[in-house]
Amino acid sequence: MIEVKNISKKYGRKKVLNGVSFTANKGEITSLIGINGVGKTTILNAIMALTPVNSGEILINNEKINKASYEKITFIPDAITMLPQMTIAEAMQFMQDFYESWNQERATELLGFFKLKGSDKISSLSKGNTAKVNLLLGLALDVDFLLMDEPFSGIDIFSREQIAEVFTSHLIEDRGVIITTHEINDIEHLIDKVILLDEGTVIKEFNTEEVRENEGKSVIDVMREVYRT
C-alpha cells in the first residue's frame, strides 16, 4: 500500500500541494484526476522521492521510501526518456543492463501484445507506438507499484484502447497502479478508485463501483458536481 499523508509542496511562493492525503492499494488501479496544473505529476514525483516535500510523509508498505522499497516501485513518465536514435530492442537492452528487476520474458510478451518490432528506431515511431514503448519499458519491471503519468494523453483512440487492455490483462497481475489523467472516458470501467484534485488538494476520494451502486452516479457525474460548484 502507498500512503500519502498530508503532503505539502511549494515552488518558491506558489503552493502546488496543500495537505494531500490518499492511499493506493496493491491489486487496485487508483486514478489521480484533475485539470492540468493541479499537481498530479508533483505527487508522483514526491512518491518516488524525486522531489522533496515541505511537510507530510509518504509510506510504501508502511515504510518511508528506502533502497529496498525503491526497487519495488516504478515511475513511467508521460514522455519516453530513451534516446530517439535507439531501436526498441536497444532500449530494452539498456533497461535490462540497468535494472535488476527487468523481466525479459514479460518485455517480449509486451512487445507482441503491442505489435511492436524490436528493430524499429524510436525516432521513427508514431506517437501512439512511442507511448506503448514507454509503457513497455516500465511494465516489464518486476515491481509492486506502477506510477503512470498521463499514459493516455495525446495519442490516437486505437492506441488508447490497446493500452487500456493492458490493465485488464495478466500483464498487470496484482500490482498496484496509480494513473494520473485528465481524461476519464477510456478508463472509467477500469479503475477501482478515484482521487479528485483541485488546486493542490484532494477534494474527493471514492470507489467507482460504490458510487455507481450507492448513488447511481458515473465518475463523470461526480466530477461535474465537484468541479462545477
Partner: protein, 129 residues
Amino acid sequence: MNVNFNNRDPVYVQVVRHFKEQIATGMLEPGQEIPSRRELANKLKINPNTAQRAYKEMEEAGLIHTERNLPSKITRNEKTLGAVREELIAGAVDSFVAAIRPINVSLDEIVGLIQDKYEMESKEEGGYE
C-alpha cells in the same frame, strides 16, 4: 463477447445481467464452463476486481459453481435456471408496459400488434434458411 456498459450502474451488476441474458437465451448452456476471471476481464475490458465481484455474486446466487481449482461452470439446477428466465421476462414486460402505457392504447390492440410482430419476425427468420 461484447457488452456495452452504461456508466451509472455498477459494472459487476451489468456483468451478472449479461450472464443471465446469455443463460436465458441459451448462449450459455447448463454445465458449460465459463472463462476465468482474468479472461472475462480481458474480454469485456473491465477491471479484474470487478470480474471477481461479478463471479462472487453469481456464485452466491447459485448461478455458477466452482470446484476447487477447476474452471467455474453454469449451474444445472433447473429451478435456478427457470428463475433467471422468469426474471428476464418479467423485466422485459415491465419496461414494455412502462413505455406503452402512457400512449393510451387498449390491451387488445397491443396483443394484436405483438402477434403481428411475432409472425412477421418468424417469417423473416424463416426467409434466411
